[in-house]
Subunit: 496 residues, 4 copies
């Protein structure tokens, strides 16, 4: 999916939400074939994938003669928990999509799955990832008379399939895929088939599961667990999988390449109870925390996680260091909209709307704060201040991943490079900005070690890790465009 521009509103939100300073996954996908409760199961699967996208959700089902589509802004549980919505999605096959909450082009026509009427029947598709040549392909298609419905890069694949002169759907789909560049995990639905595809490097995840004998595709295993489905295997990098009445087919239309899945699924995106690429995410995160404790120990009284994503790494750090783990920051479970901030003093303490210091743990103590990443650093700074206000004697900040110095173009919403704290500051100036007594990041080799490798092999890195290293694994065609006006996706501004 195409990234939306960063707007002032988003910046404002940063001030009050500690999670606002995390990177954001942009999507999750789910599909099931030949099950009597296809739409209801898809809704549950999307609910389990909600952490991958909170902006909007959609489900398309096929009832044997017509496709049915429900797409809504907001959470899965708001729109798709109701019987009347599920009842409008009849049929035994369905795919679904959740999309990350950004401002900007948050409009219904961009909510996936997208749908096209092909000459041979309908085709719906949902996408997790981002094409690095999406704008170029779009420009070419419009020049040829294609009418775009959305401003997503996902729509490009629909037009490519619609315009293919091949006879078989699979051939048309693969002909389309071959023109794409970048990261993608697709789930698609035709009047006969459930299809899945993962880009040649397998940057974004996609797994195959089974429920009551029916095949499932999902971004993460947690979407299988919620419905009691069993995990079969991961879709491989560069693989196209097809499920239909005749069973299962696997296609490998690309030259063989070593997989390079995105390291951020392990650091932050995937749910801790998911198994990604065969590894339990919770255990990986604990290992990153333990590795960090070895690389950068601190003399302290308590280990305090930044909730919630810092918890596993903090447990790993605590167990490795032997220092007690305590909840020094309490999360408010009732977090809705941003409140009016009556005074400047309260505005300055914005983070307390969502978290508060647990003074009983912090006061008079030397604490190690453990978090999984620093993006802009604005929230980290507020949290350190909150700890000091609550009486912490020393605050040592430990980050269980390396410094983020380069933006992503594969479906992670990163700020521009000049907004990335680590792209513009050295370690000491970062420490000063954050206000900690000490600051340390996990090393790049350290993160590979937590994954069970001896370290990073620059000749054959096993993960997509360009945010730390600048080593982008694919061409970045759209980034090379000279004329920035060519990046404008649409002349149309429409709210709905």
């Amino acid at each position: 999916m195409q990234k939306a521009p960063h707007t002032p509103a988003e910046t404002a939100a940063t001030e009050f939400d500690p999670n606002a300073d995390r990177l954001r996954e942009e999507c999750g996908v789910f599909g099931i074939f030949n099950h009597p409760d296809a739409a209801a199961i898809t809704a549950l699967g999307l609910h389990a994938l909600q952490h991958r996208g909170q902006e909007a959700a959609g489900i398309v089902s096929f009832d044997g003669s017509r496709f049915h589509s429900e797409r809504r802004l907001g959470l899965v549980g708001d729109a798709f928990a109701k019987r009347e919505v599920i009842d409008r999605l009849p049929g035994t096959s369905a795919i679904g999509h959740v999309r990350y909450s950004t401002t900007g082009e948050t409009i219904l026509r961009n909510v996936q799955p997208l749908f096209a009427e092909l000459n041979a029947g309908g085709f719906a598709i949902g996408h997790n990832g981002n094409l690095t040549n999406g704008i170029k392909l779009r420009r070419d298609l419009v020049r040829e008379g294609a009418m775009m419905q959305s401003t997503t890069d996902t729509e490009v694949i629909l037009h490519l399939v619609a315009r293919s002169q091949r006879n078989q759907f699979v051939d048309r789909f693969i002909e389309g895929l071959r023109q794409l560049e970048g990261a993608y995990a697709f789930v698609g639905l035709t009047n006969k088939k459930l299809v899945g595809a993962r880009d040649p490097l397998g940057i974004r995840p996609l797994v195959i599961g089974k429920l009551d004998g029916c095949p499932i595709l999902a971004s993460e295993t947690c979407a299988l667990d919620i419905i009691g489905a069993t995990y079969v295997r991961d879709v491989e990098n560069g693989e196209v999988v097809i499920f239909d009445e005749d069973g299962f087919q696997s296609h490998k239309p690309f030259p063989p390449m070593a997989a390079r899945p995105c390291i951020f699924e392990y650091i932050y995106f995937a749910r801790p109870d998911s198994i990604v690429g065969g590894r339990p995410v919770y255990e990986v995160r604990k290992a990153m925390g333990a590795q960090l404790a070895m690389e950068s120990p601190a003399a302290a009284d308590v280990i305090v996680p930044v909730p919630d994503s810092g918890v596993p790494a903090a447990l790993g750090f605590a167990q490795e260091s032997g220092i007690p783990f305590e909840l020094g920051i309490i999360r408010n479970h009732y977090v809705g909209r941003t409140f009016i901030q009556p005074t400047q003093a309260i505005r300055d303490q914005g983070v307390r709307m969502k978290h508060s210091a647990n003074r009983a743990v912090v006061e008079g103590k030397r604490i190690v704060l453990v978090d999984d990443s620093i993006v802009r650093g604005t929230t980290s700074r507020k949290i350190v201040q909150m700890m000091r206000d609550a009486g912490a004697k020393e605050v040592h900040f430990r980050i269980s991943s390396p410094p983020i110095k380069h933006p992503d173009f594969y479906g992670i919403d990163t700020p521009d490079a000049d907004k990335l704290l680590a792209a513009t500051h050295d370690l000491e100036s970062m420490r000063q900005f954050i206000g900690a007594d000490s600051l340390a990041f996990l090393s790049v080799d350290g993160i590979y070690r937590a994954m069970g490798e001896p370290g990073r092999d620059p000749a054959k890195p096993k993960y997509t890790d360009h945010c730390f290293t600048g080593d982008y694994p694919t061409p970045l065609t759209d980034q090379g465009m000279q004329d920035p006006s060519q990046k404008q996706l649409s002349l149309l501004a429409e709210a709905i």
Copy 2:
């Protein structure tokens, strides 16, 4: 615009709404160029055209760099009276559309104006009328890889323009028009031009007006009156008009033909204060009533109009006959949804929700009920019964237009032929069905006489009048399709 199927819900509504048994116009259009309040004026123009379509409304504006679109289900006054909506439609050019209220495919993606990003810029269009080869064109386009966004026939013209290989917009638009068959009045907006077009026979109306020196296009003159604009002239049949910074151009891309505007604009659709084709609609309707009084007089005490559309004809009938005009039926101005009908007796009297008998006028009297048309006859029957319940001694029913025997395919929502009372009943059995003491329709020659003609010349009929005569003025390509499944417009069912 493509007709939607008749559904049970619509039939149910028929029982309670006397207006439910009228034919329905399917759309109205409006456009203005180069005025600082383009969107607000368009909203007022659409409000004046609301009688042409109550299902949905939309406005597209252009602000010099981007197009802005707001499309909503419901009345213009509900969606477009508010400042915040108008403020989302900046720019000095705008077009708008109102659409008739049907059930079925009432979905946002069908609400006009539709919009396309052409290679050379954006193009928005609104349509009043119906293409008689719209399904065939759609099928051809999909076969060539076009992706349809809506189930309207209007979208076809967008794709034809998008795919044209001509360089100039006007040439591309005309190349598209030449492939169309049927009735249309288009208003379109590009990043440079306001365009209008009327089909070769001028079946649907379109007028040119002027406000503060800025050109306007509108379906009827009442949309000029509401904003104090002046009427310039009608767009001619087969004419394409273009307004841009360089002024005005007129194109006549079709071979010259005599105009045949739709006679129903005079009988029922146009607002009584509009001037259509140079004739005041109110005076034409009075003349129809007077002609009817001459052709089919009745010995009676009072003339009672069926409100509101029967009023001008009833006044003409009363003035011609010398019998007093009285409000024997009172309209309830507060008519919202259909109420729950607690008892069968109340259900049987459904019409009283919206109208009631004025017993003081009716009781003990011989009355002439005057209405403009009979479609299914179900409401006429209830009204006659209501008059009898209120004590009428005799009820003579007079209809100020001929019997409707043939369906329309040019933008009027008629029921199938077997639902048209006059298609399946002779005059006497119609009288019995309705329960009147006498029944008479205006003759076909009579209606031409009310228009100032000596009668209908079958060799050169001056109006589109096939509903009475069966004389369709264009080919009906889509009607000739063998396979009814080919008429299915979309595999997608989507509520929004």
Copy 3:
């Protein structure tokens, strides 16, 4: 019901709504006892009474053990047409209320019927009228520790009944009524009884009807007609009627007085098809128009009614004068919110949003405009201008009631005296303000003649006519209060 203050918003609306310059009735009431569809029938009855109040509506039903209440802002057809709302109102007895649309205290806690838990059971009540000692009674009750729920004067009667020391409900109710001063038509519901009461002069109307043998109370007969109920008789002035399982009782707790019903029910408030005090309203209005034609004829070409309420009087004027009746003003049936007015010129012509001139009728003609009343005169002025803009040669304005010089305190929403055109201008300066070529009002004796009287007998006037004569029929206790701050009804501002 207590009058709400006039606010700027209301003034603004005046500019665009010709009906904004009419007096407004403030309520309508309905009740039914012992019918299986009590709530659904009450909804229909209220719908027929909608012209008496468009601000809000409410229904209370009793199911044998509990009372159920649904009260909503907006029209009956919006809130009470739906099955799910009616289903929340189970039981065989129900009362309902519609309330006039004002700004100011339009809040849910003021929507009637109001309800109180008495020691002996529940009591719900709806009120049409206004107490002239309501503020004094309220002040006394609060001083004694009563807690007020609303700012309506209706609530006073609930507290008086709650605090009565009598044993029987009827005795408690009558004890309460005896403390009231002013105009009221009440319908009430207890766990055993449907009750009705009309003030000693019978200022506001209330009729008894019957459906399927079940008793009904309603403000007007049109609420009986809509459900096919039969009219039994009017509740008499000063009468209390009780319907319960034991049948019907009538109480006359006040000294006998001659009735003085409000003359405005005939002039404007009642629906034309209602029979009020035994007289058909439509015929009375035609008689007023005919009387006006005799008193103040005009040499003219056409008679044009100001729609819709001027139509019967215009017909009477036309029939008496022999001048043709024509629709010179066309009403737009789709009138919702007030639109944004883009230009000053359009603002100046505000009336055209809701009405437009029918130029074909008006141009070059001498016209007589007939309306039922003039309040502030602002709309009349715009209508005259609209006629002149449409080409009228002469405009003669005729009003089918006398000049309104005095405010009302009995349930009609009149502006303060200094806003009443006739209170501050003589006839000639009114004519100049309105811009007509001539202006005439019906005389006070003339209106009595249209009612079948020889004229007004100042010693024993048969109608409440103080707006014309200044002759108020009851004391005006609240008007005599010295301290205006004592009129503040509540310290609480609450939107819902």
Copy 4:
């Protein structure tokens, strides 16, 4: 606040929400005096108290001349975060209330603060607690002619104050308090004063804070922390505090008694970062877990908290036992409505909608599950099963409070005694019901020890602990009523 009846809907919800099987606090209160941002600060304070009530929230402000009230169903963050709502609450004093989410009488007229117009001015009040003679007082008041607006017991105090014959507000308020029995923490607002009151035993909490020199009242200190206010002291048991322009007064209208605060504030209700009665709640909970580990150790591999409320006790248990603490259950942060459950198998695993097993932690392990309480036991049973499904070898369930055997009548929503697992089962049958390998509760003496006492002194118990001991600290007048019909609070059923 009066308890609402338990309905089937609530029972259904129990199946899917592990928190559904906890006791529920019924309210939180907040008030501030003389601060320019009174309403905005109150909204933030209520947000911090949201865990005490999620059904509804309300704020009343006083602007020097009028009171303003906004009351809404739903969360504080939904209704009161918006500027337009806060802007409708002008003034420098405000009080607010959050209410627990139950079904049944969830209606707007019950949402607090309630408001009354007294003869001397307005009075708004919010209540945390429950009166044990509320129904009796209500019955007496209605008999005397009082009209009840709500079905809350809170309203009783308003009527008592309204009816008092004393001159000074404080005297009237105290006269009202003296008639009450049970538990209460009140915040009230008059046109001059902010008042607080705590029942003679101090069962429900209430603290005094200060922000920018302005006094604050709040249920918990976390409501002070969120706005950066400082804690001053707790309101004492039986104390009435008054803040006005003249400063501060304290009244002690009751005979001196030893305080007996509710032990459940420490076990479950209060936020872990609050300081209640001078003790940090987080530390108390850890101490309960540690005490439990001493009383009932288990041979296990990991300690797993039932999130989120079991976490502090689990940490205490882990630190005391030396067994590692691990997140064996992952909470889904996106929990909205109850989803449709497509299959019986999924229905049976309902708990997984909100939590899921972290197989990497659990599989093949002996685990100790730590939770804070068991009410009905239905959720505990599902959690044990979820652990076994994830491969746990042994499951030892440890509860950091004693068995709940008796219902509460002081503002905690407990099920009837026959629904309390511990009231109907002995330890072994509870273990079997839950399906654990072992089960242990903290002892009553143990919980006193965790509070720093040597144990419970039956002669002078320091806490309200009747749920464990049956020792109710006040009379239970309403429970003694013979006629259950007398408990019906209202004859009126109204949705809004």
